[in-house]
Symmetry: D2
Subunit: 278 residues, 4 copies
């Protein structure tokens, strides 16, 4: 089971969330508490947008354990960003290689995923065939997660994100059913165009991997009272995480089953997620 | 441009061919003489059959340069084999990752390739669709070379190897033509089931990458007069190489354009290679 | 905290102990039960002697997690050895790099270690100065464990192994005391010349990392009743492990505090270990 | 033989010099023209100071070939710096590992080197002993280059840089003579505190590796007429390189034998370099 976070708000250094909190993402990679696998040492990745504006995000991905990667530590120390996604991977079978590390990028979009498509090796060919042939050449790796991204792009992610993800989920479930695979889809995902961020918590069996959001910026202030760099965070600042960072009561709200959320300027949204056969 | 060799005959230690000769494969990875690229530092691989008999071959593949890989040196020193393939990669664009390193393995078969399918990113989807759906899940990497292998398997490699490779080449050329790609196929390949080894030299433009075979065992004796371990080589011993090892006049014969060869017990074969639309 | 094993006896495939048992070494690297660190993903190594006799052992070492290393799996499947050491590393601070992976090799000797020299960064220079200048150039990495090996070699490991290790331990403790470091040494070690294997369990505070030996070959037979390849193990076969493999009652004996053991033809030895100022 | 560059002046993106010029550093790593080794695939590194001011520089180092490192490409695209050093390594024998990649860092200082200490394995112990015991624990790798850095720090690099480097060179030569090593030192080096940059070209035999400096900013403008981002470079901007980038006549001046240079605000300096026994 992977771990991830999505940050959006006042620009901060990546290390503020990757390394500093108790139960930081790096700490979780060594000792996860809520996950299925106890170790997440099968690669990692960070995708971030520059302070200057959306544009194409930058990626840093590695195949070793995140906890011992000196380059990640340097990068996290010197990189400031208003919007970034980070992911720590525990492989569910596909090779540990950079092209399989999240987040995945297409133009100005990033995508990451925790969970799996059950029996993916059997379903893969049918799913791949549904990817827009124009997009097909951009598939670089061999994970279910990347195929899910390109299916969502195929189904209109850039125009109507939630509907596109619902069609992707609907396709996975209908192909799964055709092959007799019970409960084919398990996912929490985050995707962003550099401006808004969408997250989804869903699984075919209605028992999804955990997902939390920070209720409000005051929660973060309580989490890190001694951290002066956080005092200046705007009210728009929001954090989505697969597992809480820190132990402060009341700081984290679980994302409900079968839900999506949108992090954006102004009011955020939370709605019901329903797979739709494309 | 990659470099490779295929050895078949009396069991020898891998290092005898990977490290010891002048212009050994490792030396070539640093300073190639006949190739297009001057450096082959994008990964490597060795596949070998145990002395006890065919069975499933073992693989060792790495993503760094072969010349500085300490594990390869150890392995080559202590591994004895009657039949092995070795490959040094210069990427033509696909990622440097272990799943893209040759040789590729399927059950008791190994496959390696030097060359490329031109405009592979555009042709890939159509080629993938022609792979037997039963075999599709075994595709692990993202190279043209691996797709060629699974197409050949689809077309009967295990039963009629040369005909299957001809059909694979025919398909690549016909898909290439459909997309307006001139001269789509460039290849030298070697494939083996652990008993016999097939090699092919072919390119759509009739100007293929180099390929040589050792004319007879006496040639090897002349190459390494001081190498006592080679004195005991059987008359069946044969070496196929992308570029000659050593400089001895008369030791190496070029494989003609549009040809295949079969290394086997008894007389070897050499024949005309002709792509066939499947 | 690292994990290790030392095998000696009837030649077996490495995979029989690295992968197959419940709580195998690879399994322990993901989920250790008795250790301090819960994850051992900072590199690994195997050193083995060929079936043909002692000679120089071969090494295979990697910097990624052992559990996802495809090359280790291949090697373990096809390598047969009568004497091998294997180690899974959890770094105590020094870099994750191949030259820091155990076992270390000098000529026909191998050495591995679990534990640490406390405050090694401060003590290192004085310890290094005590290494024989003839041996100094062979130090390749930056671990305390390798320095302990070269100190033992300096103090006569090749002639009187136990006495040499006692002098190494005595030096570490006396240098530690000079710098005001409490309880400077914590170790379980194994070292072998390809014929005999020595193991030691010792710590300055008298509370050492765990170490076990297989009482007798019948214990292994009980451990793996269905494993036919183990039925042929000789009575001389012995296994030393940092943590038991499998759960069979009575199969494993703890090595007592401050003890050394010698695995050899004929009767094995067990004795008191006492650091001696060199 | 390694390749390196040192940039100082108007903040630019790293990619402007690492990737874009003809004969860029990355291009040189594949096809060097003036070097001894034809391939530089044994690791690389970049050290840069942030735009906000000196402080501690950031490091990014890798052990694979620079030309295929996706993370380096991303980093170079999104990192802006007024002062950075970059290095491509061809090992002269020490292991390919991150702790051996240049530049080396100590507090706010960076150091890189092309060349070698001849017979370093034999001389190393005596040289190490001359390193200030307070600095000794910061030695992380096993290269001659890092030992040279810590010797220079020992001899006062932070106060009188040129004199300290002269004493380092003098020590290396006197230890070399004591061991009967002819012409023990070969070096071009660059070191910086984030404000000024010092470079040295020296060898015991008076036949040093190549080193060039950009004569004036107008030279760079001529080099990249179409590169608008370079039009805004200040007159203080200066580039030191082991091998010219681009082919423009008159753009590059060789640093004379046995010389040092200082890049700083106001007039730069060029002087005679003379090893001094410490």
């Amino acid at each position: 089971m992977c771990r991830w976070l999505a940050y959006s708000g006042t620009p901060i250094r990546l290390e503020e969330l990757l390394y500093k909190p108790r139960y930081s993402l790096i700490d979780q990679s060594l000792h996860s508490r809520l996950g299925v696998e106890t170790t997440n040492g099968d690669g990692f990745g960070v995708g971030w947008y520059p302070v200057e504006g959306p544009g194409e995000p930058a990626l840093f991905r590695g195949v070793g354990p995140a906890w011992s990667d000196g380059n990640l530590r340097e990068l996290a120390r010197c990189t400031l960003s208003p919007l970034f996604l980070a992911h720590i991977r525990a492989s569910t079978g596909t090779p540990v290689q950079q092209s399989n590390c999240h987040p995945f990028r297409y133009q100005n979009w990033l995508w990451l995923h925790n969970g799996s498509i059950r029996d993916f090796a059997r379903l893969k060919r049918d799913l791949i065939l549904a990817v827009d042939p124009e997009l097909y050449p951009y598939l670089n790796g061999s994970t279910d997660s990347e195929v899910m991204f390109y299916l969502a792009l195929t189904f209109g992610l850039r125009d109507r994100p939630v509907a596109a993800i619902e069609r992707m989920a609907g396709l996975v479930e209908s192909v799964g059913r055709a092959y007799g695979v019970p409960n084919p889809l398990q996912m929490t995902i985050a995707t962003t165009d550099g401006d808004r961020t969408w997250c989804v918590r869903y699984s075919s069996e209605g028992h999804s991997r955990s997902l939390y959001y920070s209720t409000e910026i005051s929660a973060l202030h309580k989490l890190y009272p001694e951290n002066k760099s956080l005092l200046r965070l705007s009210d728009e600042t929001r954090l989505i995480v697969s597992e809480p960072l820190g132990e402060l009561e009341g700081a984290w709200q679980p994302v409900p089953e079968s839900s999506y959320g949108v992090i954006q300027k102004g009011d955020d949204e939370l709605g019901h997620f329903e797979p739709a056969v494309p």
